[in-house]
Amino acid sequence: MDKAELLNLYEQMVTIRLMEEKCEELYQKGKIGGFMHLYIGQEAAGVGAVSARQPHDNVITAYRDHGLAIACGLEPRLIMAEMFGKATGCCKGKGGSMHLADITKKFWGGHAIVGAHIALATGLAFADKYRQSDAVTLCFFGDGATNISYFHEALNLAAAWDLPCVFICENNKYGMWTPIEKVSGVTEMRQKATAYGMPSDVCDGMEVLAVRAVTEKAITHVRSGQGPYFLEILTYRYRGHSMGDQRPYRTQAEIHKWQAEDPIGQFENYLLKQGFLAAEMDAIDDRVKHLLDDAIKFADESPFPAQTEIWTDIYAPGSPAAIHN
């Protein structure tokens, strides 16, 4: 990787971290509504994995989607405006925090029914294979989603049909408030892929370059037409499942242990050892802060959607099924 690429990984992770901290504040101020799930702690997982894709490869994820949206290149302005429920948001204010998407970045959402998007991913992958495109689909989900029927139906179909899909489990140890070992027969999620004859790999999700390396390997395998691949990224969310979760179900010691391996701090140290200057990173931090301030200002000043917007986008334009006031 060249210097610019390394700094780009750093910048994306910092953008996610600082944006999530802002989101937390804005949620408490009532600027952002609904359910919101922060990605803090998991930055290296999303950034590392997505950095291994080509621009025509698909990314789809669950409701903890802010980080992957940034990794896929969505403009912070459009993300922030969406969370503010504004007309200028990436989904015109109709999706919110859990349903970010941008088709121009091949970022297919943002889906809030646990596991359902794993089924959608098989369809995305099928369509590319059918058109004889070499695009692959990266489907992200949490450890909690491996217990739902969709996961098993989708992995089985992908294996049976040799679909070009990388299933990426971000194992952050908890499904909502429940530790995975209490609700799963196995604690290594990749064992579940073995049942479908799928090759798998695992990596330290706090190390962005490690994540990138295993994802590159997985994508190469899938793109060569050998069928789907399963990745387990071991990671940790510092915050609760969603806002208002006080995290009584885990110890401070556990949180501190993971924070000691902070993905951004670790990568910063790595870059310094590689000869990068602290000033280079400080400059990035400043640029990101400005970018986020600008995004928040943009979101704040943008108008809410017109009331008539409620009737749009339900059916195709001109469909006789279109609903009118």
């Binding site: 998407a101 359902a116 959608l120 339900i314």
Partner: protein, 324 residues
Amino acid sequence: MAITTMAKAIAQAMAEEMERDSRIVVWGEEVAAAGGTYGATQGLQEKFGPTRVLDTPISEGVIVGAAVGAAMNGLRPIAEIMGINFAFLAMDQIINHAAKVRSMFGGQFECPIVIRTTSGGGRQLGATHSQTVEHLFAHFPGLLVVAPSTPGDAKGLLKAAIRSDDPVMFVEHATMYSDKGEAPEDVNYVLPIGKSDVKRSGKDVTIVTYSKMVSISLRAAQQLSAEGIECEIIDLRWLRPLDLEPVYESFKKTNRAVIVEEGYATYGLSAEIATRIYAECFDYLDAPIERVSQKEVPLPYSGPLEKYALPKVEDVIAGVKRVL
């Protein structure tokens, strides 16, 4: 026009559309090698090959989910759910995804899928395999729901469903696959979306119905005609979007209506239609609107009991007589 069966008309509609548009793919349980459990996909795999016509695992959630994903990514899948009772296993994909991906993402994604499925009782399959529940899906904005009553309609309506840029539940009746009727051979025979059809004219009572209950109502009307009672029968064809203009027009002439549905009346299709007629045609009302429907029990296996529970010709005749 050629005489054909319901199953053949359905297969023909798909074959013609697949010929026209290479983005159309067909998948479901037993649809490919076997040609469908009811023969409605007969010949498709031979004609279009295994990359376009695929057998799936018995996995309703991913049958629909993969169709939604493929549709978002540019294809136009036709996914078969063998029975509407199994569509309950795909309810989340149909309602939370197919019906919502366009609006929830601000119009970025399209979902041009057709979910072909089979509804209805009358085959002694017991309570879990005999339900008539298509109206449940018609509850949700974002979906279209259509149920044909003749082979000709099936062909024209399925082609309309396939050409729709929005998700359509295409609901066939389990006992009608070998019904015979005329079906136009014109490849551009496409019926309009959201238009009902007057299947019989009459001046005395308006019967509003769809799918198999159209033929049951026609038989009832024939018997009533012998007694001098003339029924007008309106086949809704589409449960969403619902076209009640011809119903209002008819009601303003007859001042009496019977709504015939195979499913349960409680919270059912007839409740919706009756409400709308009451609101639109209040000044024309000469009798309370009658509903003919299935008895509110899980359908039993035993032949005579099942027959007793399902609406039949005599029930429609009795319903008509109650409004006169």
